[in-house]
């Protein structure tokens, strides 16, 4: 500390001045947090912030999705072990930490405890499976997880146990996360196809890809969202039943994000030396095999940090749907503030919303560094 902050009179003065500034700025913040702020608004609206108007009698489905998430986390730790130890200890601690939130109901606490238990039990049990199939199961679980929870959360028209919960009732953090997950899961493969299309030797495919990418990159996301919400219905033939508004937002986000994924993947493709294509072809691999076995794995690994950066941006951009009237985390916050009971609590609500966005963004960025470290094995 002495060497970093006080090595010479100039640095000592700078350190003291900065310290004084920090204290000067932190004091009002700290005193606001502990004395000035009306925190009652957060516990009172906690359920709204978390899940919007998702019906209380179906909330067990959200918990079920979280149990499954815990199981996937336990399986992942069992599969990838040491390299992700630090991350997984923190991940496992999350439900326990959340139990400390003073305003949570007893049911929520029990459910969090079950989550923790599920994670630990999966971790312990799956370690009995031999390593290779264990890793395979973990990969499959990761891929299947997101479509599966979307089905669970949405439910089915015909089902009595799991009746349909229309997406107009999805809200809060739940909606923000679903928009992001759908955006990432669907835009990425579409982006890979567009990137390949842009490199295609067939002029028609190449031109269509270029036009699509450049058009989408040339307009802001909010304009696509407005087009989806306001104008789409005007273009459809008269009498077409209105399309679900959340679905329209999802499609806009997917289409938007795909163009950016495409450019990032293209950067990865261009970083692969020509010799890799030549070696693959010289061995007799077909174009498809060279792409899927040799080129894409390397290209995508090379751009993981960029892609994760893009996905973090996408997660935060989903807050734009609040402007077209959907009740995501930000939209719910705005509607809470519109309630006369909670007048004047903007600071409290927005600080908490920002904190929630930060926690998720930071978690993603941390996870990307782990993946990077794990996939760079054997490179120079």
């Amino acid at each position: 500390m002495r060497r970093n902050l006080f090595n010479g009179w100039l640095n000592s003065i700078l350190t003291l001045v900065s310290l004084a500034l920090i204290i000067l700025m932190l004091r009002p913040l700290v005193s606001w947090v502990f004395t000035g702020a009306e925190w009652a608004v957060i516990p009172a609206n906690w359920n709204l912030l978390m899940r919007g108007s998702y019906p209380a009698e179906e909330v067990w489905r959200l918990w079920l999705s979280l149990y499954l998430l815990a199981a996937v986390a336990g399986l992942a730790w069992a599969a990838w072990g040491k390299s992700i130890n630090a991350t997984m200890i923190v991940t496992f601690a999350v439900p326990l930490i959340l139990m400390l939130l003073p305003w949570l109901s007893m049911t929520a606490r029990v459910n969090l405890a079950i989550m923790f238990a599920v994670a630990v039990v999966t971790f312990v049990l799956t370690r009995y499976i031999p390593l290779k199939p264990r890793i395979r199961i973990a990969v499959i679980a990761l891929i299947v997880y997101f479509p599966l929870i979307i089905l669970i959360i949405r439910g089915f028209d015909f089902s009595v146990q799991m009746p349909l919960v229309p997406s107009s009732l999805w809200g809060g953090l739940l909606l923000s996360l679903l928009l992001s997950v759908v955006g990432i899961v669907f835009s990425f493969p579409l982006g890979v196809l567009l990137a390949l299309g842009r490199q295609s030797k067939l002029p028609a495919i190449k031109m269509l890809s270029v036009i699509y990418i450049e058009f989408i990159r040339g307009v802001p996301l909010i304009s696509l969202l407005f087009m989806g919400q306001v104008m789409l219905q005007l273009f459809l033939p008269v009498g077409t039943p209105p399309i679900d508004r959340v679905l329209r937002a999802m499609v806009a986000i997917v289409l938007f994000s795909a163009a950016y994924s495409a450019e990032n993947v293209r950067a990865g493709l261009q970083s692969i030396p020509k010799g890799q294509y030549e070696a693959a072809h010289a061995l007799g691999l077909s174009n498809f095999q060279s792409m899927t076995r040799i080129i894409l794995p390397q290209a995508i690994t090379a751009v993981i940090p960029v892609l994760v950066g893009q996905f973090i941006g996408l997660f935060k951009d989903t807050s734009l749907v609040a402007l077209v009237g959907l009740l995501d985390l930000l939209g719910i916050a705005r509607s809470i503030l519109g309630n006369p009971n909670w007048l004047g609590t903007q600071k409290e609500v927005y600080v908490v919303v920002a904190l929630i966005y930060w926690v998720f963004s930071y978690a993603m960025s941390h996870a990307s560094r782990q993946v990077e470290a794990a996939t760079s094995v054997g490179e120079h």
Binding site: E278, A280, H281, A282, L283, G284, L285, Q298, V377
Partner: protein
């Protein structure tokens, strides 16, 4: 062509036939009509100054480069735009590159077994057994589970040779296999190539290693400005070169 010559050709049937092969890069005429027959089991060294088209020529044989005029027939299959023909020829020819071009995201073992499993549809276990035999043949069985980035240049090039051999090709093409190596590693690669040449596989080798040419080549071809200016057995080539260009080239590199 006399009857005698025809009979001679039939007995040692050429596995590669090149007739009047031309190639242009845009306006630049790289290959000016190459004629070359390669007999089964023959080892041919292709020498010549850089820019003479020798690399381009052997890269035409497995269609990494496209020739615009003339015929190339490999193992009875004519090289045309037909993808099936191209893939068939590539299955019969292995290639070793100057820059090794191993797949950095795969282990040595996966590098070698990928094509046999994907292209030849071999069983994984069978492919891995064969890969271990090949790694023993090139002298590095202990490196099987490492990644290419963890090996020296000479070891990488030997893996590349094993990878090409795993497809059990009838022909091996070498494109300056030792040019990117540190001097002390050249020998370990050349030893593998000499052993390979003696095993009877057909080889086309673009190289500046004249020691290799003397030791195992059946013929040496001298390329200059896109034509074969001289073609002879190594003894004649090195001791009694006819063409001025060859004499100059030999005086520069020997």
């Amino acid at each position: 062509m006399s009857e005698n010559q025809m009979a001679n050709q039939a007995s040692n049937e050429p596995i590669i036939v090149c007739r009047d092969v031309h190639k242009w890069y845009g306006n630049f005429h790289v290959l000016h009509g190459i004629d070359l027959d390669v007999g089964t089991g023959e080892v041919i060294v292709i020498a010549g100054p850089s820019g003479s088209g020798k690399s381009t020529f052997i890269r035409c044989i497995n269609r990494l480069e496209e020739h615009q005029k003339g015929d190339i027939i490999v193992d009875g299959i004519e090289l045309t735009h037909d993808v099936r023909n191209i893939e068939a020829i590539r299955r019969e020819t292995g290639m070793v590159f100057q820059q090794f071009n191993l797949f950095p995201h795969l282990t040595v073992m996966q590098n070698i077994t990928l094509a046999p499993i994907q292209v030849r549809k071999k069983k994984k276990q069978e492919a891995e057994e064969r890969a271990m035999q090949l790694l023993e043949r090139v002298g590095i069985p202990e490196q099987a589970e490492k990644y290419p980035g963890q090996l020296s240049g000479g070891q990488q090039q030997r893996v590349a040779i094993a990878r090409a051999l795993a497809m059990e090709p009838k022909i091996m093409l070498f494109d300056e296999p030792t040019s990117a190596l540190d001097p002390e590693m050249i020998k370990e690669v050349l030893d593998v190539m000499i052993e390979l040449a003696e095993s009877g596989i057909t080889m086309l080798v673009v190289t500046h290693e004249m020691g290799f040419a003397r030791a195992v080549a059946n013929r040496v071809c001298m390329f200059d400005e896109g034509v074969i200016v001289e073609e002879a057995d190594p003894e004649t080539f090195f001791l009694h070169p006819k063409h001025e260009r060859t004499k100059l080239f030999l005086s520069q590199i020997l």
